[in-house]
Amino acid sequence: MPRTLYDKIWDSHHVGTREDGLDLLYIDRHLLHEVTSPQAFEGLTLASRKPWRLDANLATVDHSIPTTDRSEGVKGIADPIAREQVEVLNTNCDSFNIRYFDMLDHRQGIVHVVGPEQGATLPGMTIVCGDSHTSTHGAFGALAHGIGTSEVEHVLATQCLVQQKSRNMCVHIQGPLNESCSAKDIVLALIRQIGTAGATGHTIEYCGDVVSSLSLEGRMTICNMSIEAGARAGLMGIDERTVVYLESRPFAPKGGLWHEAVDYWLQLNTDSDANFDTTVELDVTELAPQVSWGTNPELVIGIDEVVPSSDDFSDEAKSETVGRALEYMDLTPGTPISEVILDKVFIGSCTNARIEDLRQAASIARGRKVASNIKNAFVVPGSGLVKKQAEQEGLDEVFKQAGFEWREPGCSMCLAMNNDRLYPGERCASTSNRNFEGRQGHMGRTHLVSPATAAASAIAGKIADVREYL
């Protein structure tokens, strides 16, 4: 029977059925960070349990750490509660003997940037992390699930995840994509079309020539935000680009095993006659750069559109959500989104903090200046290695000369667990993934955009049409 890529990875990792009828899926790679792991390690200790398989785990620190000077290490974290959280991860990785890129390691970074960059993410793998954006790793043709802390403990103890098989959804992206748009615009347009619960219960496979034409960085951006459409995972087929990206990465197989692995990966893709439970068509040929205007990632419009009114939606729940979002965002229906004035700009996060994202933003920022009304324009690289690469290319200088702040790697203002944040009433163009109320700071207002649009918006001092800056 013809199978999808998801079916094949599921079948090759299905351990069996437990006595209560639930399926056990074997997990090849477990990524850990400071926020969702302490209670899991504590649970293991209390039950006198040990990790099942040490070499499957890789930890780093990203959410709670400052993005300013780190030379003092953990001692330099001013917030005592955040410092304790990082110290607890240090202690846990040490006492459980888990491989760990700590705050001072040059490979440290956002867990979803680090995994692929190290080749710790491989095609055909099952991957979990106590973080919903684990879906990012699907860009490599890996099945990657975000999980809760009880599940983190469960995977540590058993190397298995209790799962029910998802339904298969195909998102077919019809192109070509025009040069003013990027992967971020595609995924924002998708969530606008299918909604934040549009893929609930499904694993999405993204298909079509547009997907094949994207770099792995772009593919990661799209898979990253699958969770924002409610999906359990997002996947893409494996091709030459996937293989080229991974070759020689530190954790990737070497020598004969590499060739054996590549042969296996390249025959893993969805069979041509495989059946999807749901198919979605997304046409991006006429796509304009996308901007979120509201407080969830489906409240998105094109840069040339106006802020909608609650009367525009017949569905009662949606209309009510729109009304509430307009109030929270302090926006008037009918306002062109390109006239909305900003206070801050954030370029970073597991969605858009890779080298290609920084190159795109820098190409807009080059030779221009951040507008005087912008209080902060942060550029936060996704990892120490991304930062180093960008500095070798001189991108840090481009940003600094334009008036952007060049920071140390971490999650930063995507969720404002450190001091990088919005203050009440501030408005931000952000390359992150969530525009929920208060996400970037108490009473802050977020507009999700691509790296190029974020850079153009910093220059303009308002949400900008990047097409005027190309």
Partner: protein, 213 residues
């Protein structure tokens, strides 16, 4: 894990769709390394007018927020609109709900990770059709607080004199909730099966078992 068999309690109607886990427990409380102490900050930005921090006392309650309404002070069943629990995978959201005193959430639909987190902690997610949820909203919004009974054994919700409403849950999760089983213990009963699978997996995909750098 706390078991769930049958629960009777006051229903608090939270009339919002797409309630995300950032609202259920905002990010500043995730810095805690403990598993307890989240209840007091449940829905922090909606429940209070001042900005919350871990350990902050003398908070200013928001009188407009439904949980602060005197009718619902002792509520233990949360009623909401569709796609409840979307967004971040933070299990702290479930801990906050339970530690506040919520035992059951009724909504037309739930986000997948949140649903799993509920089941793993003994918080019962009850999906009901949108029109049934709408009916309960009407009953729960009257001047007298509404008491409902949620019976997991028979998979039924009953309130006032209306006909009881059945809900679905997979049999494995139902059994685990009824008995409050230790999830890891249950999986470790399959240790031999996992070991056997792992050996076979290593033969099929040896590159996943090499020594990392």
């Amino acid at each position: 894990m706390q078991s769930f068999r049958n629960h009777e309690g006051v229903v608090v109607p939270l009339d919002r769709a797409n309630v995300d886990t950032d609202q259920i427990i905002p990010k500043q409380f995730l810095k805690s390394v403990k598993r307890t102490g989240f209840g007091e900050n449940l829905f922090d930005a909606w429940r209070f007018l001042d900005e919350g921090e871990i350990g902050k006392t003398n908070r200013q309650e928001n009188p407009q927020f439904v949980l602060n309404d005197s009718r619902y002070r002792n509520a233990s069943i949360l009623l909401a609109r569709r796609n409840f629990g979307c967004g971040s995978s933070r299990e702290h959201a479930v801990w906050a709900l339970m530690q506040y005193g919520i035992r059951c959430v009724i909504a037309p639909s739930f986000a997948d990770i949140f649903y799993n987190n509920c089941v793993n902690n003994g918080l019962l997610p009850v999906p009901l059709p949108e029109e049934k949820v709408a009916q309960i909203f009407v009953a729960a919004s009257s001047s007298e607080p509404l008491t409902a009974n949620v019976d997991l054994e028979n998979q039924r919700v009953t309130y006032e004199n209306t006909e009881s409403i059945s809900f679905s849950i997979d049999s494995g999760s139902r059994k685990r909730l009824l008995e409050g089983m230790d999830e890891i213990g249950l999986t470790l009963r399959e240790t031999d099966k996992i070991r056997k699978f792992e050996r076979q997996h290593q033969r099929t995909m040896p590159w996943l078992f090499t020594d990392n750098p």
